[in-house]
Chain length 193, copies 2
DNA sequence: ATGTTATCCAACAACATGTTGACTTTTTCA
DNA sequence: TGAAAAAGTCAACATGTTGTTGGATAACAT
């Protein structure tokens, strides 16, 4: 364990941070497709060539940023393994919404009209795997296709919830949101109004 | 009424059709951002300049295609104005899923990882307007923010449902899907499994 | 048959891209 | 502290896409 857990070079941190800031700003102004590496590095006040040391293009950069969020997601599910098994969704949801809150700005742009559909699908995939795996373990193999529909509806629906939440600057607390999501999933979205 | 309702030039129809076909194919292979006008027109076997007679760029083309689908959506809501007022969602949903089925391929790519987030938001907007307007008429002005969350959840959720459906090549009938959606919205998505 | 319109073709400048090599600055670590 | 390693700067390059143009040709409507 020489330098495994060593923090990365300060310059690298600085560069990554500046690029991420610049990207977040630009994504609020225009669609991803219209963001050029040139203007991105200009806004971050660095050389254009530096960008290519880290990312292939703007979309690749977004993917990498998403990666970090999904790592956080994995960590949450690892911590709540018992809750998943016992179908205790609320504690998981609270941590999940906390993660969202920490990455508020990025989530807002990723779910915005200028956002990234792939983000939604990665989310869908993760939730599907995490939950479905435990369901299979508990109840044996599945028979019909209702599960696919259930998960697609639930995950996309939660994404919609998150979208609305971050666009209100996360006014409601994470606990409130977890309760709201849980209620919608269990009793139906109409039950909240 | 000289030539108001006259069909457009046969050449125009042909060009539009060829371009749409080519786009649909390409969107299955790669992300929108990687689709160039050059390769699009090559696949459609026509001059590059012709493309610019109709669309500003590839994203503009997608918007225009979406426009047609949303016109169909408007027509459906116009036909079911009584159902909206009486909260009879199922008949509307059936027609809605029929519309989806007609535009199966395009819906699949628009909701795919390579898809268009703006499509989701336009959908959200339309449903919000159509339904919420009647709610307001019936029940007077709204007080709290639960409606926003409800609609975001419901519309995004339905989008997830549609996504799963078109990826199964619309195996289930429109009636089945309408029932499924209605049930999820009213009794909760967990009720289907 | 005739005028109108859509498409084709070639060519153009403008721009973003991705990569390179040499140079400077910062960080690491012994 | 000093030398090696790594990160970033800068200028330059070939390449490909873009959006637009003017004139020729073909397809269409009446």
């Amino acid at each position: 364990m020489e330098k495994e857990n060593k923090k990365e070079d300060r310059r690298v941190r600085r560069t990554r941070k500046l690029l991420t800031q610049a990207l977040t700003e630009l994504m609020q102004q225009k669609q991803i497709k219209d963001i050029t590496v040139t203007e991105l590095t200009e806004k971050a006040d660095m050389n254009r060539g530096t960008f290519y040391l880290y990312y292939r293009d703007v979309f690749d950069m977004i993917d990498k940023i998403e990666d970090e969020m999904f790592n956080g997601l994995d960590r949450i599910f690892a911590q709540h393994s018992e809750d998943v098994a016992s179908n205790q969704t609320e504690p998981i949801l609270i941590d999940l919404f906390s993660l969202i809150e920490e990455n508020q700005e990025m989530c807002r742009v990723l779910l915005s009209p200028h956002g990234d559909m792939n983000f939604l699908h990665r989310l869908n995939e993760v939730m599907h795997d995490k939950f479905l795996n435990t369901w299979v373990e508990l109840r044996g193999p599945l028979k019909d296709n209702a599960f696919d529909y259930y998960y697609s509806f639930a995950v996309f629906g939660c994404a919609g919830l998150i979208h609305a939440w971050v666009n209100r600057s996360c006014k409601e607390s994470t606990e409130e949101m977890a309760k709201l999501a849980d209620r919608m999933l269990r009793r139906g979205s109409l039950s909240v109004i």
